[in-house]
């Protein structure tokens, strides 16, 4: 973090829902003094061509992220749990589609 943090305009992460039925998806960030201006800036920067029906903005500092260094610890254990997948189970063809 730089030393001039006090005068910096806060950073917000922007999420857009392209249309109802889809979830909001991260698309970038904007700087804005407060949430009202963050929404306006996000609209101007990320939805100039009908890209969205809904916008979320979240202060970047409020996002909690996993550390890429913990990737193995967090995600490797699922690799050997092949019984979580439907193909693990043998069902005779006579039963039909299941």
């Amino acid at each position: 973090m730089s030393e001039t943090v006090k005068n910096e305009v806060p950073l917000w992460e922007v999420f857009i829902r392209p249309r109802n039925g889809l979830s909001h998806k991260h698309c970038g960030s904007v700087h804005a003094a407060d949430e009202v201006m963050a929404l306006q800036a996000a609209r101007d920067v990320y939805t100039r061509r009908g890209e969205g029906q809904s916008i979320w903005v979240v202060r970047s500092k409020d996002i909690v992220a996993s550390d890429p260094q913990d990737k193995e610890e967090l995600f490797e254990p699922t690799a050997d749990k092949i019984y979580r997948h439907p193909t693990f189970y043998e069902i005779p063809d006579e039963v039909g589609h299941m």
Binding site: N7, E8, V30, D34, M37, V45, Y46, R48, R49
Partner: protein, 335 residues
């Protein structure tokens, strides 16, 4: 133009051989690098420099075109130009946001631009003297930018690649908008056609310079290619651009100002391509080093815009703080 972002880039890095080899293996496997991943310091530095300069180019690029918004010949042209200049601003912001994921602050990048420490594309140091220049910029400058940016959509750094995909979608409107302006002039009165030709005469060579120095004079291209920040060399992209553009000029009945331009059926592995004349690299380096026609004015205008906005930023922050304090007090009273 964005290959110019690598001029003077310091790709040196001090990690262990083992770390660099593992990183290179990820790159070779076409894995994207994301902001919190471990990466060589040289990779980070090179990207901060290139993305920052790319962002500055978009922002400074608003100035030459903004010059004609109030004087656009029709309401339709004015609305389109306004939308295009707004897009350039948006592109600058996508890119600043991508650079910020690497740990550089927006303030730092802005200060470097204003202090003349960070560069932007040489092309924006040329003046827009006539309305035809707005057409020529869309057609050629944005055309050259697209040539450069399409391969950047596959750049190894995720946030840069994603920003480029958005930018490329929008640039296509810019180029067509510009070509249509030039076409209207080229098919208009003799005076209008002459204006289009004169504009092409002034912009052609500076546009070819946008791709950066010859590969033989480009010191940092190799490392950037290995890290897949860059996918094609400056000369390859320049050749592609010339080959794509000459038929477009012919359609308009305009001539590029190059007596050495000639179709060469042997070029591009026998598919054919154009030979073209020598580029005046002295002019290029003069402009890059700050001695172009508009360098001083561009930075002066950027600084003025920043300084004039100071009170707005201060007021917005003060207002946000006041609201936050009031809300905290209300919450406390309620508890």
């Amino acid at each position: 133009m964005y290959s110019q972002g690598l001029i003077g880039a310091d790709t040196s890095t001090e990690e262990s051989e083992e770390f660099l080899r593992a990183f290179q293996e990820r790159i070779d496997a076409e894995q994207k690098i994301e902001p919190n991943d471990a990466m060589p310091a040289g990779y980070r530095k090179t990207l901060i420099r290139q993305i920052g300069q790319h962002a500055h180019s978009e922002i400074v690029g608003m100035l030459p075109e903004g010059n004609w918004i109030t004087r656009a010949p029709t309401l339709k042209r004015k609305a389109a130009l306004l939308a295009k200049v707004q897009d350039e601003g948006g592109h600058g912001l996508y890119l600043y946001s991508a650079a910020e994921t690497l740990g550089v602050s927006r303030e730092q990048m802005t200060e470097e631009l204003h202090a003349g420490k960070a560069k932007y594309s040489s092309i924006f140091n040329y003046p827009t003297l006539t309305w035809a220049d707005i057409g020529t910029i869309g057609w050629l400058v944005d055309g050259a930018a697209i040539m450069n940016q399409i391969p950047l959509c596959r750049c190894s750094f995720g946030p840069y690649a994603r920003a480029m995909i958005r930018v490329c979608k929008e640039e296509s409107f810019h180029q067509r908008q510009g070509y249509e302006i030039v076409m209207t002039l080229a098919k208009g009165s003799p005076e209008q056609k002459a204006m289009a030709q004169e504009s092409l005469d002034r912009w052609w060579w500076p546009v070819l310079m946008m791709f950066g120095p010859h590969d033989s004079d480009s010191q940092h291209g190799d490392q950037s290619m290995r890290w897949k920040i860059k996918r094609f060399s400056n000369d390859e992209l320049r050749q592609k651009f010339v080959d794509a553009t000459i038929p477009q000029a012919e359609y308009l009945g305009l001539t590029v100002p190059d007596p050495d331009l000639k179709w060469n059926p042997e070029k591009n592995d026998g598919r054919g391509g154009y030979d073209f004349g020598a580029i005046d690299w002295d002019e290029f380096w003069r402009v890059v080093k700050g001695k172009g026609i508009m360098n001083r004015e561009r930075i002066r205008d950027r600084r003025k815009a920043w300084d004039d906005g100071e009170w707005v930023r201060e007021a917005a922050l003060a207002h946000a703080q006041k609201r936050a304090e009031r809300m905290a007090a209300e919450q406390q009273a309620a508890e």
